[in-house]
């Protein structure tokens, strides 16, 4: 029932089937066997090889707008005679490119290493009746592979024979789909006896199977077994015959299997999604701003070029006698000259898009991420692991999360079952024993109930464990009636020492109660209901006694059903149904899949922070539901909307039924939330009204409806329902379906930021799909994740405190950078030759200042700010989740704040320029009547600029550590020192000694001092004023809003 289109995105469907020769032995000469080519068993996750690294990496890097732009600018500077030196833009670009290349190369080397580890691991292949040790990557389709207990299957195998005589083996697929229970797989019936090297080698058979496809639960194939002088026997193969790569063999000594899918064609590899580079919303904002600035840049350059030529159309402006053109300039074509002028303007303005910003942002992210791994509150004493940061690119995204997708088992829960209590015939017993999740539990249960039965007369169950193991030996296990989700119960048939045949059945109350004597239910039911209310998983236990005749008959039925080739499942189910009837209820147990520490509090905090929490699990619906209740994802007042197989049914009409359900829910929700739902998007989630439960098969029905086109809008309706529910639970999800859900939410309107957290390999695809992936430390998911934390509870601090701070820091960093670079430098530069002098392209400042500006004078304060700033302290952030909503929707990088910063910069540019312009109406500013020239003009403007920009940051800093003091005042001191130094020496390597003593002269002029102080003050004045106004307003708001606010946070 799973989706057929699961792997649409990564897997191209190939028609036809593949034929595999078992052991590569040709079976008959008559069959024309066309050798098919299959890929080898090598896993490749690396991106580069030694040879293609350089070109491929460079190509990828220059695909970024910014890098490409800088490259162009650099080339223009090299080719055309431009006002600034190519070194100014070439050096930083080279630096950025190199650092990135090294980083990516290192990451790829790690991938290579990990690939090798898997590809070179040893496996045993049977060749010529001998066991041959081979490297995993050498396995070819058709090889017979031997796998021992607790080993992982190296590729997808058809199960041929096992060490256990009945031809079964137990397998755990925890790393594939997260289900940690043991599954039984069956060998091909006719080959079960071939359980030695020699015999297996004699097998002559071909396997025909479908081409690889990613659905883990689907497999169709046929095996043809050839025996000498006999017609070949054909047996059908199903998923129960297929052992998947990545799964682990358990409780079985060894098995033989033949490889059918290898390497990148295994189901696991097909389920894996390439780790694509994740881009944060901040980076997208930067890119948007960049595009805007590029447009400004282009228009500026165009305007400047036009103005220049209009101005130059007057011959005495173009070439006055005092300023003749060189021969080369005269000879150049006019169009070409215009073009080079245009390019020169572009280059002159290229500081608009600062390379240094990228360097600073990268550094901030890299250094900033250490604070996450250094956080001792996210260190777990038990597993001795702290948080781990795999990608530093997404720090700020942690502050923007809107949807949290979490795995259940192992993430919300500890994945260990704890026995809470049991009741036997209405008597309640309580102990504290714990059991591990796994098959042992099932046996344990079955066994235990025997004990219960056994011990019933004594009415005491003091040490069940003590009795449990010894008593195990005293029974002979005859049959296991396996668990399946439809029956939702399992049974064992045993023979006691005394020869009594007993059947014990355990299962969900809903499936047991109808099958026992009605009069026995009453007492137990009360217990069960109470336990269920408490969020425990309840199991009811019943028994039945057989006579020998009855047993013989059952035995026969079971064997028949098991061997059936067609409709095996159905037949089995029918037999089970017959057997498990008219039982006697013994009692019920309550176990708790213990929730992780503070899981419920964390979920509440996330809800309060305006995030929506979805639980995606491969687990059963009932279990998942009870967990959701336990961790308060669903609360008692939550109205649950169910879209499950149970509700929809399994009949032909299920699509119609689904349609009805969808419509009904949709209508219901629409009434609840009238049209203004846009505003509600992240509003306070006060009362959790609706929760949605959906399971995998229904989901696939919705997402991939059968040809009926009218149902194609299911998806949108479903999405609308989902988005209006505060909590969503998706159960029985395949790994790719988890990713599908994430992708679906991700691509909704407004593209919300999603976060996935999980611990198993089944979560890897959704971790990769989400904007931010969080793995649990120490598990394999952490390797593919962007961050890893030891416990679910650490999500709270990670998002609410770290995420919030990182976002505020980087947003401020970006805005500040655009502000300080673009506006200040360029506005002044631009104006210098537009309205007043309209002269050719001449930078206002000395080249050394230009280069140093971003690198030395103003970079460290903002870096320190972006690492240390805590505008609200961490404790407050963690304890008040509602603060998180303040920065939601990328609030600090929207156009409004962007415009504010731009106007601020424009204003300051105007102030600087016109202030100094008016000052220079009379350029004798010293008391000796000597005059200042254009370099003094530039230096004054630049000094004001450096001081204003730094002091602006000082105004914004709310958290002054000694480091902030040091870098802010240090930068200013350095500027002054540098200016003296730079102007104090005749530099032999410079062609022009422009700055010689310019700064020193400026400092001796009182007028210059007065002007600098005044202009800095005017520039900062609007900012101060704004802060004061905000402060007054906030004070007023706090007074009115504080009371309900605090109340609210206590409630939730």
């Amino acid at each position: 029932t799973f989706s057929t289109g699961l792997g649409r995105f990564i897997y191209k469907k190939r028609v036809g089937t593949r034929t595999v020769l078992v052991g590569h032995r040709p079976v008959s000469e008559t069959d024309a066997y066309v050798a098919q080519k299959f890929c080898d068993n090598r896993i490749v996750s690396s991106k580069y090889t030694v040879w293609n690294f350089l070109p491929k990496n460079l190509f990828e890097q220059f695909r970024r707008i910014a890098n490409f732009y800088f490259l162009i600018i650099f080339l223009v500077q090299v080719i055309v005679d431009t006002p600034t030196s190519p070194v100014t833009s070439g050096l930083p670009l080279f630096f950025v490119i190199t650092v990135t290349a090294i980083k990516q190369g290192y990451e790829d080397w790690l991938r290579h290493r990990a690939d090798n580890e898997v590809n070179k691991s040893n496996v045993f292949v049977i060749e010529n009746a001998k066991q041959v040790r081979k490297e995993s990557e050498k396995i070819k389709v058709g090889d017979i592979v031997e796998v021992k207990a607790d080993e992982t299957f190296p590729c997808d195998l058809i199960f041929l024979a096992s060490s256990s005589p009945d031809g079964t083996c137990y397998v755990t697929t925890a790393s594939l789909d997260g289900e940690s229970n043991f599954k039984t797989h069956y060998a091909v019936r006719d080959t079960t006896v071939l359980c030695t090297h020699e015999t297996i080698d004699s097998l002559a058979a071909t396997i025909e199977c479908e081409q690889p496809q990613p659905d883990l639960y689907k497999f169709v194939g046929r095996i043809n077994i050839y025996r000498s002088n006999q017609e070949p026997i054909a047996r059908s193969l199903g998923p129960e015959n297929l052992l998947l790569k990545g799964a682990t063999l358990k409780n079985t000594k060894k098995i033989y299997g033949v490889a059918v899918y290898t390497g990148m064609e295994t189901k696991m590899a097909l389920n894996y999604q390439g780790k694509s580079q994740k881009r944060s919303a901040v980076e997208k904002s930067i890119n948007a701003f960049l595009v805007v600035y590029l447009c400004i840049l282009l228009s500026k350059a165009t305007v400047c070029t036009t103005m220049k030529y209009v101005w130059q159309s007057n011959p005495f402006n173009d070439e006055p006698w005092y300023n003749e053109k060189t021969k080369k300039e005269k000879e150049a074509f006019k169009v070409l000259r215009m073009f080079t002028d245009f390019l020169s303007f572009m280059v002159l303005f290229n500081f608009i898009i600062p390379v240094s910003m990228y360097v600073t942002v990268e550094m901030q992210k890299f250094l900033g991420s250490f604070f996450i791994s250094w956080d001792k509150e996210m260190y777990d004493e038990e597993i001795k692991e702290g948080a781990l940061v795999n990608t530093s690119d997404l720090n700020e995204e942690l502050g923007q999360v809107e949807y949290v997708f979490t795995d259940k088992t192992g993430t919300l829960t500890e994945n260990s079952m704890e026995f809470i209590e049991c009741c036997i015939d209405g008597h309640k017993y309580k102990e504290s024993i714990s059991e591990v999740d796994g098959p042992l539990k099932y046996y344990g249960k079955a066994e235990k109930c025997r004990e219960e039965l056994f011990l019933r007369p004594s009415g005491c169950l003091s040490e069940p464990r003590g009795f449990f193991f010894p008593s195990l030996k005293s029974y002979q296990l005859l049959h296991i009636l396996n668990f399946d989700p439809v029956r939702r119960r399992m049974s064992v048939i045993v023979r006691t020492i005394t020869g009594i045949l007993l059947l014990f059945c355990k299962g969900a109350d809903s499936s047991i109660f109808p099958r026992v004597q009605q009069d026995e239910i009453q007492q137990t039911k009360a217990h069960v209901d109470r336990n269920a209310m408490d969020g425990y998983r309840t199991l009811c236990v019943a028994f039945k006694e057989f006579s020998q005749e009855e047993y013989d008959q059952i035995d026969k039925q079971l064997c028949e059903a098991k061997m059936a080739l067609q409709d095996r499942e159905e037949k089995m189910a029918k037999v089970f149904e017959d057997i498990e009837a008219n039982m006697h209820l013994i009692g019920a147990t309550a176990v708790e899949d213990k929730l992780q520490e503070q899981a419920a509090e964390t979920i509440e905090a996330l809800h309060a922070a305006g995030m929506k929490v979805w639980v995606l699990t491969g687990d059963k619906m009932e279990t998942a539901k009870s967990t959701c209740y336990a961790c308060r994802l669903f609360q008692t007042n939550t109205e649950l909307l169910e879209l499950t197989t149970k509700m929809v049914g399994d009949s032909e009409r299920r699509e119609d039924r689904l349609h009805e359900l969808l419509m009904e829910y949709h209508k219901k929700l629409l009434q609840e939330f009238p049209k203004n739902s846009g505003g509600l998007k992240r509003s306070l989630v006060l009362n959790q009204e609706y929760g949605l439960i959906i399971d995998g098969s229904t989901l696939s029905l919705i997402l991939n409806p059968s040809q009926d086109s009218s149902s194609s809008n299911y998806k949108t309706i479903f999405l609308q329902i989902c988005l209006k529910c505060t909590a969503v639970l998706c159960c029985r999800m395949a790994p790719l379906q988890k990713a599908q859900i994430v992708r679906m939410v991700k691509s909704t309107k407004g593209s919300p930021i999603t976060l996935s957290i999980g611990d198993g390999a089944n979560d890897v695809s959704m971790i990769l799909e989400a904007h931010v992936g969080i793995g649990k430390e120490g598990r394999q998911a952490s390797r593919n994740s962007d961050y890893a934390v030891p416990k679910f509870k650490h999500l709270r601090k990670l998002l609410l405190a770290h995420g919030h701070l990182y976002y505020v820091r980087i947003a401020h960093l970006v805005q500040y950078f655009f502000y300080k670079v673009r506006i200040c430098i360029h506005l002044t530069q631009f104006m210098f030759f537009l309205p007043l002098t309209i002269k050719s392209i001449k930078p206002l400042y000395d080249a050394a200042y230009l280069t140093m500006y971003n690198i030395c004078f103003t970079s460290l304060p903002i870096l320190a700010y972006s690492l240390l700033e805590q505008h609200i302290n961490i404790e407050t952030l963690t304890s008040d989740p509602q603060l998180y909503m303040k920065i939601s929707d990328n609030a600090m990088l929207q156009w409004k704040p962007f415009l504010y910063w731009t106007f601020l910069g424009a204003f300051e540019g105007l102030v600087f320029f016109f202030g100094v312009y008016f000052l220079f109406q009379n350029s004798s500013l010293e008391d000796n009547g000597k005059v200042f020239g254009n370099w003094t003009f530039g230096t004054i403007v630049f000094t004001i600029l450096v001081f204003t920009v730094t002091l602006k940051l000082a105004l914004d800093t709310r958290f002054w550590t000694w480091m902030n003091h040091f870098v802010i005042w240090g930068s200013l001191a350095f500027y002054v020192f540098f200016s003296f130094f730079w102007g104090g020496v005749i530099w032999p390597f410079l062609k022009q000694q422009r700055m010689y003593f310019v700064f020193a002269h400026m400092v001796t002029s009182l007028s210059a001092w007065l002007a600098i102080i005044l202009l800095i003050f005017i520039s900062l004045f609007p900012e101060i004023l704004l802060i004061v106004f905000k402060n007054v307003r906030r004070k007023a708001q706090v007074r009115t809003a504080y009371a309900p606010c605090t109340l609210l946070s206590y409630f939730s």
Binding site: K376, L919, S923
Partner: protein, 368 residues
């Protein structure tokens, strides 16, 4: 493709797997240090700009800025300044005949302008020439110089920088000083007379001390060699195209000749704006009893060499006294007074708002 590696590392299924070993060994290193920096708990000053702290600051700034502004304004107003435009655009102007001079016109055109000073100039008087619509800040112009040549480097003297093009060589000889700036050096001669009872008394104009000390003594140097024989030093070079005479004949005083001629140095400090003034001469005060320039009739003799009409420029002669803040410029004073007043005014407004807000707020609490 970590999915694939995973199974074997999956700690769930293998309690005895690598996790225990790895955990034990790494435990010491993995545990984060409990330092203030790493836990982001550095002691910090957390300032909050409130109305309470900013309001007094506004008043203080207002109270400081306004007096400063008044001081500057008064100082600026006390500066005497007199300006004559001697371009000769108007047909009535005595210099009108010289309007279309070219560089090499011989004999040079001269004209005389009479003017009257209504008020005496008490302290030292500074004589400037001013040019308008002259783009000394043009990029091609600004960089058209060779500072190492001007610094006395013999190599650069004979092989000037490429930046000097097209004023680098002339008649196959290197130009000294090369470049557009030097080539276009201002070469009008201005002589000032006081007319006392129909007699013209020349006023002593000091041509030294008009350039920056560092420029005169460090940045500009004649080529090394016999300082008394500049002609020999510049032997292999030629004069800039527009100059009537070579650089070693700028002045008779060897301390003011060649590259260290102060008029030349002043010219070489390019102006920031197209309308600019440059210091030309100093008129020092003789004694304390007499003003430097008394009120009365004066006449200015101009040797008109410098053509500005072709680029629509203007030439001016400016006489000015100087205060501690430099020449006359009302801008700073007015700006200080304005900003101070705005600060003060906003302080008052904010104070009122602050008080009103507080009062209204307490009363508004109840209905909410």
């Amino acid at each position: 493709m970590a999915v694939n590696y995973s199974a074997k590392e999956d700690a769930d299924g293998h309690p005895s797997g690598g996790l225990g070993a790895a955990g034990g060994g790494a435990a010491k290193t993995r545990k984060p240090d409990n330092t203030a920096f790493k836990q982001q708990r550095l002691p910090a000053w957390q300032p909050i700009l409130t109305a309470g702290t900013v309001l007094p600051a506004f008043f203080v700034i207002g109270l400081v800025f306004i007096p400063i502004g008044i001081g500057i304004f008064v100082t600026s107003n006390n500066i005497r300044e007199y300006e004559i435009d001697y371009t000769g655009i108007e047909p009535t102007s005595p210099c009108n005949k010289c309007l279309n001079v070219s560089w090499n016109s011989t004999p040079s055109c001269t004209c005389t302008i009479n003017f009257t000073l209504d008020h005496p100039f008490e302290s030292n008087v500074f004589m400037y020439y001013g040019l308008s619509n002259f783009y000394q800040n043009h990029r091609r112009y600004v960089k058209s110089r060779d500072d190492s040549q001007l610094n006395g480097d013999n190599g650069s003297l004979l092989n000037p920088s490429k930046e000097c093009e097209p004023y680098r060589t002339s008649e196959n000889k290197p130009i000294a000083p090369c470049g557009a700036i030097a080539n276009s050096m201002f070469n009008d001669t201005l002589v000032l007379y006081r007319i006392d009872n129909e007699t013209r008394i020349p006023i002593h104009l000091n041509k030294k001390g008009i350039a920056w000390w560092t420029d005169k003594n460090v940045k500009f140097r004649n080529p090394s060699g016999d300082a008394n024989n500049l002609t020999a030093l510049f032997q292999k070079t030629t004069k800039p195209v527009n100059w009537p005479k070579p650089v070693y004949m700028l002045d008779s005083d060897p301390d003011n000749n060649g590259f260290i001629n102060e008029d030349f140095i002043v010219w070489m400090r390019t102006a920031a704006l197209p309308t600019f003034r440059k210091l030309y001469r100093l008129i020092e005060r003789k004694n304390n009893l007499q003003p430097t320039l008394e009120a009365g009739q004066y006449s200015l003799d101009i040797t008109y060499n410098y053509p500005v009409h072709s680029f629509d420029g203007r030439k001016r002669m400016i006489l000015s006294t100087i205060s501690w803040m430099g020449g006359k410029n009302p801008f700073l004073g007015i700006a200080y007074i304005t900003v101070g007043s705005i600060c003060f005014f906003l302080g008052v407004v904010l104070l009122i708002i602050h008080h009103k807000y507080g009062n209204r707020n307490t009363s508004a609490d109840i209905p909410n």
